[in-house]
Structure formats: C-alpha cells, structure tokens
Symmetry: D2
Subunit: 355 residues, 4 copies
C-alpha cells in the first residue's frame, strides 16, 4: 500500500486527487493538508466526501509529513514547494508537484514570468517534467516530478507529434485555449463569482500568461530549437474542461513523385499514430470529428484531432481534456503510478460522464 499525503487538499485539484486516490487499489491517503482548514473535517469542506473521508485537515508541515508517507502531492501556490523542499525530504519520499515550481529549467525564465524568486533552484535540474506520454521513462526513476499545467498538457500533447516530426513551422504556432472555471481555483474572488462567469466569455492574460514559457520550453525540445508561440487563454462558463484550438503553418513535404505538396490527411494522421496509437489516455478521433470537452469529462483522456486547410496553408489542431484530471490530479496519479511501478492506468480508468 502506497501511503500518500496531499498538501493543498482543499483546492479543486486537491479535491480531485482525493476523488481519484479513493478509487486506487494500492493507495491510502494519510494526510489531508490544508492550511486554511486545519482541524476541520475534510468532508465538511467537500461534502461530496461525506462518509467517504473521516479525516480532519492537517497543516502543511512537509518535513513531518515526509516521515509518514511514501509520496507527497503538492497542490499549492507557486513558490510554496520551492521554499520548503530539502534534500532530506527528497531522500525519504517521492514528490509530485502540481505547482509550477520545477517545470521550467531556466530559473530566470521562471522568475521573470512568475515574478517570484526561486528558493531552491538546486532541484530544478533533477526534476522531471511529468508529461507521461512524452517523458515516461525519466519519470519512472525520478524523485521529484513537475506535474504539467492544465493548459500546457493540452497544448503540448495536441501539437507534439507535428512539431517533433517537423510538419509545421513551430514558430507559427498560435494556441487559442478555452478553460472551464475550476481552473481559476477555489479562492473567493469577485471575477469568479457565478454571476460574473455565467453567460460570459473573455480572454485574459493575453500575451502574458505563465503557461506560455512552459509550452515553449517543451515544444522547443521537440523542435530542437528555441521557439516562440502565441498563447491566449479564455474563461468559459462551465466547471471543467479545456479545449485548445491551435493554428500553424503547414510545411510542404516532398512527395513520392519528387514534387512538394502539403501532406495529406493520411500522412498527418500517420504522424499522430506514430506517437499516440498505443497511448491509453490519448484518443485520436475519427476524421472530421472535432473534440468536445464533455466527451472527456471526469476522465483522464485527451481527445485530439486536426483539419488541414489548404486554402490558407495552415493546419488547425484541436485537443480536449478535463483540466482537473489529465490537466492536474489524474496526470499526477499517472505519474505516481510510474514512480511506484504500478500499472500506469490504475485508478484512472474512469469512463467519461455524459451528459
């Protein structure tokens, strides 16, 4: 039995971790950490857990926690983990960090976009970026996993094969992302009130959202060079779900007759299949079917498809996932499974809920 502790168990991602781990055969949650609700019954914070979780919330003493469990999940504000992580902790437990603290290898980029001084840059290099489908092997032997962001997971997975294989000009990539409101967290802020979000859609963080450098770094590895992308997030009046619509200039390929032409549907599809055909949590949809967030709701799936537009010389890529599952807690558990040699999909075989 893997003993798990969660710091930040009362945010939405933390709550989703609890939901998922309760159904995992080999995990026992030992620590529901929540600075805001210390000593309050967890099921009084999330009443869906009534009679399912009897524990009260504990503090965020990670040193003490590291002596009691095998794995720690941190679903905490930016900078928290960086400020408390020590070699001693890492020598005792595995850590899966749902914050951004160890996602970006260049500490100056992190500090610029997050406007925080990084308190433990010495762990950045060893941290593995936990996008399982791409970094599976490195995750298995890691001590510290930087669990990717929700927008990031969706944005990268949707474009990765085409960037990796050079079918598109990576610098032409424009990512227009739409997110449900749980991505904004459970903090009590006026812009997240029901009446402000309902019947409304808006862009925010235009040309300045913090997930941008994370996408650029990871897709840059795939491209084999530094890249710059446009990324615009939008807030959508729904609880869960991220949809990305990505636009890129399609490169002409040498065809069998020696001429250059845009790749065919089959050629692009073959590239996707090369990377994802065997992936359990990535579904390449049938031709002409556009992903919808509801088809993945509550599950760990990412649904992906594309449309070639020869008129404009562009390709439109689309990806959908549940921001709290594959975009946060589900991927964290997937990483934990890899870390502990569990079946990668254990606890994650939710059938999407519809409607």
């Amino acid at each position: 039995m893997i003993k798990a502790g969660i710091i930040g168990a009362t945010g939405y991602a933390g709550g989703e971790l609890v939901r998922i781990l309760l159904g995992h055969k080999n995990v026992e949650i030992r620590w529901y950490g929540s600075k805001s609700y210390i000593d309050k019954k967890y099921a009084d914070v999330y009443r869906n857990m009534f009679q399912l979780v009897e524990d009260a919330c504990l503090d965020d003493n990670i040193a003490e926690l590291s002596r009691q469990v095998d794995v720690i999940f941190t679903a905490t504000p930016q900078g928290y983990l960086a400020s408390v992580l020590t070699e001693e902790i890492l020598s005792r437990v595995k850590v899966v960090d749902l914050s951004a603290d160890y996602r970006i290898k260049d500490v100056s980029v992190y500090e610029e976009w997050y406007q925080i001084s990084h308190r433990s840059p010495q762990f950045i290099q060893e941290a593995v970026y936990g996008l399982c489908e791409i970094n599976r092997d490195q995750v298995k032997s890691a001590r510290l996993v930087a669990n990717p962001g929700c927008y990031t997971t969706c944005s990268i997975l949707t474009a990765y094969p085409l960037v990796k294989e050079g079918l598109i000009d990576a610098d032409s990539l424009i990512i227009d992302a739409k997110s449900g409101t749980s991505g904004a967290g459970r903090g009590a802020k006026v812009p997240n009130l029901f009446c402000e979000v309902n019947e409304n859609i808006k862009a925010y963080g235009v040309a300045s959202h913090r997930h941008t450098p994370e996408i650029e770094e990871q897709l840059g590895y795939a491209a084999g060079k530094e890249i710059r992308v446009s990324f615009t997030p939008h807030l959508v009046p729904m609880n869960r779900g991220i949809l990305v619509t990505e636009y890129a200039v399609l490169k002409k390929m040498a065809q069998s007759d020696g001429s250059y032409a845009y790749p065919s549907y089959e050629q692009v599809r073959a590239v996707y299949d090369k990377y994802y055909a065997k992936e359990q949590f990535i579904r390449l949809l049938d031709r002409e079917v556009c992903p919808e967030t509801k088809w993945v709701e509550g599950s760990n799936f990412t649904d992906i498809n594309f449309k070639i537009d020869e008129r404009t010389g562009r390709i439109v890529l689309m990806g959908a996932l549940d921001n709290l599952v594959k975009g946060a807690a589900g991927q964290a558990v997937q990483n934990m499974n890899l870390l502990f040699g569990e079946c990668e999909s254990e606890g994650l075989t939710f059938v999407p809920m519809y409607p």
Copy 2:
C-alpha cells in the same frame, strides 16, 4: 460473467447504464439496442465511449435478445415493454424495466395517468418495485423488476421512515421537486433546447405529473392506507440532479412525562437512523446541513436531511440524488446485483464528482 442487453441504449438513462456496466467486474454488455440508430456505432452516438465500446447498435428484438443474455434492461418509452413481454422471455432472462410499465399495481390507475392501455397486465402482480432499500428481499427472487422513477425514488426515500413510523400526517405531504434537464430525455424538442432551459426555471405537470400515483402507492403501503400528496416538478438549468423539498404536518408525540409535544431533532433522527443507518447509498447528513445535488453527482447516493419548524407545526424534508444514477441506471444495476447475488454495491462505488 453476467451477459446483459440494453433496449434503449441511446437515451440518457441507457447511456448511463453503459457507463456503469463498463465498470462492473462481472458484467459484459452484449446488446446495445437502439431503434433510432440501428447499425450505427454506439461510440458515434455517444463519443465519450470512443475506444471504450466498439459495438454497433442493434434493434429491439427482445425475443432474440432474451436468448443471448442473462438480464435485459429496458430504458424505453412507456408501453413498449408491456407490449412485447411474454412468459417465454421471463422464463429465460431477468428483466429490469426502467419505464413505468410495471410500477403501479392498479392497472386502472396506470391507464388513467399514462393514457395508455396496458398490454400485459398479467405480469403486474409479480413485478417487484425495485426500490432496493425498501424491497430488497423481494427483489432478490424476482424475475421482473420495475425500476422506480427518478422523482419517485427521491421523493419516497426522503419521506419513508417518517410515514412508516407515523411521525407525519401522510395526507399533508407536499413534494416540491426540482430536476436537471437530462430527466427530460434526449428527444429533439424546442422546450429542451439550451437557450430555452438556460437562465430559466419553471414548474410543469402541476397536479398532473405521472410520478404522483407511484409516490402515493408506495408511501401508502408505508402509511398503511391510501394517501393523496401534492407533487410539483420543476425544470432546472443543470444536466443532472434531483432535489426534493417536502413539507408535512408533524404529529405531536407522547413524551416521557406524559405530555404531547413535537418530536425533538434527536427523536426524528432516530427514526431515520432506524431505517437508513446501515444503508450504503443513503447518507443522512449532519444537523443543519441541507442536501445539494452536486454533492451526489455521478454517484449512487441519496443525501437526506430534515428541519423541524415548530412555528408552523411542520417538518421540512430534503433529499438529493443524481437522476441518472440512483434515479435510473444506478438503481437498475443495484437491482441487477440483487437479482444475481452480486455484492449490492458492485460497480456503484463512484465518488461524487465535485465540482
């Protein structure tokens, strides 16, 4: 392995049956019946099932189906099952009917409220009303289970202990029910369009909804007499969930000192505990906590609580469930588990999804 067939697999209740049965250890779905989508891939009707269900839809030939499976679920329009059910079918398979055809023992009441002539009244008597918490033992040995309606399950479970023990005047019962829109089905009708339902609430079927006689019959058994209740359903702009708010005149009880007084919180609570304390799928909430539909979303739970109002001499009862799970497919699987000697909760231990 229990072989199961579904007739009406492409309605919302049918889709939920598929979601639940896919996670059941001992069930294999052999027949996705859908008259409207014959030969179409099931996963093209419900794309959440992409790569999870490979089957195409079949017709509704129940005689043929009864030779291939152990249990048939009918999630069909009123009158369908009554028009095709035969002794031969019942001799071969168990049938769990999610329609109303065998819920009401008095066929004239059925025919009056449903405005349909009943085509096989000979099976009404043997059919067991599948409200598991109340009729568990009869279900176990049944051939034909009449799976209760969504409003009905919530309305009855919420009031049952108080009616049974005589704490309230059953004829004073007023049930104000609120339902998510999936209860209206997947038929393409203008009143169910997004723009008509969203940002709107209304009552409908006032003093004439078909679930009324079903509630009256079942609570009448508990009361030991015929009763009449007021029942008003409302359509709420959300996908899932039923909330009932019930009002009844509280009877004064003889107290230990010989006087008559309204029962205390503890006395009412004790009556609920007597019936439900050991029930896995009924959660009696803590004092002063009102049920909310989101706390049970996606799960088989019914959350219940009550508030004594001495000012008016009434008690207010509240119950919440997911109309597609405990109110339809979940309860159907619970009944199937009872019919086949499975653990009653097998396949039904979903943690409610929040948010």
Copy 3:
C-alpha cells in the same frame, strides 16, 4: 429633472438601478455611492457602463448627499440606513430604502430575525411598505419607502388576492421559492463561486429566512389576522429570476345552488382579475400556462398563474419575476415615480429579453 443619489451603487441591485435610471426621461444620477470603490470610475466597476457613465464612486455621506439630490436610494446592508437616517435628511429628500430596515412594523420582530438592534425605530411607523400594486396611494405621499424584498414581492403578489378574499386558509400557505444567484449579492464568498453554484441546486435558510416575517406581516394584513407560513428559498444556477410555487388549502365556497364546493377556475380567476386586471406590471397568464423566469427577464413584470387540485383540496400558485427589477431596482423606481408624480411606468417599459 429629478436628481437622484444611490448609496450602494456597486452591488447588483445598485447596478440595476443605474441601468434603469439611465433610461428614465426625468432623472439624473448625481451620486454613485460606494464605500468599497471610492474614487474609482463607476464604469471600471461595471464595464457595461463604459462610455455611459463617466462619474467616479463617492462615499456614503448621506447628510451631504441629501443636500444635493431629490431622492436617495439605499441599496445597503441591513442596519446601515437605520443607523444614519435623521429627521433632517427626511425633511430634505425622499428616501427609497432597498434594505429591510423599515419593512417590518414590529421592531422586536425585526431585531429577532435580523439579529441587529434597530437604531432609528422612530421612523418605522411612517415608512410605507412600497409594494406599489397594494399600497399605491400611501406611497404617493410618503417620505420614506421601504422597498420590498425580492422573495417577498413575488411571494406576496402571487397569493395576495386569494388571501384577501379568503379563498385559501392563510395559515396553510407553504412557499417554495427558487432564486437566481444575483440575489446573493456581489460579495466574494466561496459558496457563490461559479463552480459551487453551477450544476447545483440547494435549499438554504430553511424555516429561518429573514423574508419570512415580512411575508407574514403583509399577508397578515390581507387576512386580517396574524398568520404563519412556511417559506423555503433555494439557490438556482442562473443569474436572474425568482419563481415561487405556493401551496394552500382551498376553502369550499357556497355555490349558487346552496351547496359548498371548491371554487371553479373561473371563480379563482375572477378574484385575481379583481385586483390585477388593470395592473400594468402584473400579467395573469392564460389557463394552464406556468410562469417561467426567463419570460420576465430584464423587465418589471410579475407573471402569475394557479392550478386547482381537487384531488388534494389544494391550490398551487406560481409567480415569477426578475429579482433585480421588480424584486429590487425596478420596484424602487416604480416607487420613485409614485413619489414624484411621474407616470408610474416611466423608465420601466422594458420588453423581457428572450432568450
């Protein structure tokens, strides 16, 4: 030109007052009071007002304000107006109070339900309860109008004629009310976050909501005696709208042949017509049509209908209004029109917006 000042202009009711008054021919808003946003441009708080309102927010100095305007609207927390109102202010301006401070004549009832000590009970008697359709004449000559609550307006208007004419037993009245979320205000609280309200319905304040005594007092005047009602509010995932479903024991009436029987549809309708046929803002719907909140959205209408249920001896009453218009700001302007001899509907002839 009537010069108007608003204290509490940045709550939802305050914002709606601005929307309505901007369209009023004879009103000019001189003071946008908002303690939380002093010196901030009003249009930066409500960007729908961009280029429509150029003013910045001012403080809540009511004494100063009373020297600059003809009418003051207070859309403020309970107890505020009571703590600052003086004879001097009332000698200078008319006051329309959207809070509850002067709605209840019996100060002890107010203090018990609101748990506040009333700081200026000397003005309670002269305050006129501003339910225009019922107290029109008194409003015209008032200095201080207590603008009714949103739930209250809908609950009272829906039942008033039947209580007044004795068709129902007023003590049997049960009011099950459903409200959009703007009724909860613009305060940043977790329970009002989008993700908590969306896809959810719940009751709250069961047997203890503060609008109860207000309803009892006003319907008690109609009944000619003290009455007790059950009132249960519910939170619905929509921005605007209140729907009330009311249940009451219908009295048998002496019929023309000397027998006693339940009144017919026509008899009940005639009673409603007696009070409301000439009212511009009350619409008695056609037989069998149930009110829906969306049909009144954005307008000052209250839509009302009823259904006689002889089976149970009860009548079900239904009423719908927009909580921010007829339930708050619209009624406040209607009262202002009466106070200043304007056409009662001036500025209030919005056609409901659909969808």
Copy 4:
C-alpha cells in the same frame, strides 16, 4: 410611422427584432410572418411578449406583405429571399435581409460555400452590405440591404482599421470565434439540446464555415486585394454573445527616426480612433482591458481592444458583441434607421444588462 413586416418572426433573430421594434418610436409592426406557426398567437410562441403583442402569426407571402408595409425584414433560411424577391417588391418597399442571400458579390463563391443555386443574382450588385459603420452612406440610398452575419460583424469590425491602414498582414489573419447558442437558431436538433451544450465547448465548421468568404470579401476591400483568412467558430454554453480573438502578423513601421519598428500602443490606438472614435456603437476599451460578452449583452455595442505582442511579432485583437443585437436584429434596425432617415440610434440605446 414606419410600417414594418417580418418574415421569420419566430426564430431567435426574429424575436429580437420584435423586442427592439416594440421600443422604436416610429415603427409599427404589421406582419409577424412565421410559416411554422401560422394563425398561432405570437405571444404563445414567445411568452415574454404576453400582453405586449396581440397579433397572430401570418404566412410568408412577401408579395402581399410588400403592399402593406414600408420595410420588410427577412430572418429566413438561406435561399428563401433569393427565391421570391422581385423588382416589383423592391419598387414598393425597402428590404433588410438577415440571411446571407445578398451578402457576397461573387455568386459563384456564394453557391460554392452555401451549396445552393442563387435564384435572383440580378439583385446582388445593388444590394448594399449593411455594416453601418463602414458602409453608412451607401445604406442610406439602398433598396436592398444585406444585413451582415453575427460572426462576420464582429470579425470585420475588430480588424477593419488595421487592415485598412496596412498595419497587419491581412493574409496572416486568424480568427478564433466563440458564440453563444442562440446563434444556432431555434430548430429542434439534438446537438442544441441543453444537456449537449451545457458544460461543453467545441469547435465546428473548421476551415469550412460559411461566414469565411463574407469576412474575406469585406476585409479584402479594406486591404485592396484578395485575402485568405482562417476562421474557426466555437459553440459556448451561454445564450448570447460572440467573442472573437484575432491574431495577425504586425508590420514594422517607419518611425520618426527613420528606423523600422513595431508600432506602439499609441500608434495602433490612433488608427482605431481614426475610424471608431465617433461611432456610437463601437467602444474602444481602455488599455489592458479585454472585452467580455456580458458587458454588451442586450445592447447594440461592439467592444474592441488589442494587445501588441512583440515577442512573437503579432498583435492580438479582441471584439465582443451580442449576436442577436449588433450581430443581427440591432444592426438590421440600425440599417432601417439609415434607410428611413431616422436617428441612427433610435430604438437601440439599450444599456447592457449585467449580470
């Protein structure tokens, strides 16, 4: 008094025309045309109109209608108006067509994208594209106005000044558009059911939506050359509103010191001001403020802003409007005002409703 007739009065755009025209001082609606609801009371189709509209629906006999009114609005399926319009009709009345029949000057482009054969191409040349802010003068003297599409209005207005002045490379333009569901019409189709749209977002019509050639034609006039754009519409779970997010390569401009550099915020803003500063229905938001659909809900405004992204050499443009008002019925009335010499904003000065 302008006498108006509407063909297609029971669709959502038709209903909005009624709402707007009821508030217009100089218009009287004489004909509520609706093939589906002939002889049914209009207020029984849209109950928000109860007691406001007493008329019954009439057929779509445009020849007869043209004898009774001064202006005809057609809110009809593609191809309808083209199949019935005659010189005789146009000689009697003005026609404002909300369908696409006369929007595209090149009939072969129309026929290719709409897959309909155009039945009266002889009127295409004289038809004026009714984007008032751009074609105001031509509209004034027209007989036939092609009222722009909802996506189109928002897409064009947002980019027009920058294309016209050559600040961006028009062929690099990518338009990612998000629409509320009323844009999909009131037809009873499964994909528009509440449960299918709610809690969901998807792209549709990728690289093939019919509004694409309309955008390309109009922006092509501004660019002075043929252009190709990427346009992707998305369905958002809300009733009203369109938001467009547009991406384009920003051109470097010669600066005062002779160097070439990206234009500054002030330079771009000045270009917008040149075209829109005096427009009553276009609001250029303050720097860093992103448009939101709710801020324009129910009004005829288009809110626009932009963000320069030097990192990528792109500019992000954003525009928001209410698809039923500025995107359909509001603009149609604005055109009518121009046609009849009315004040352009008569009947259109709605303050946006919030929340």
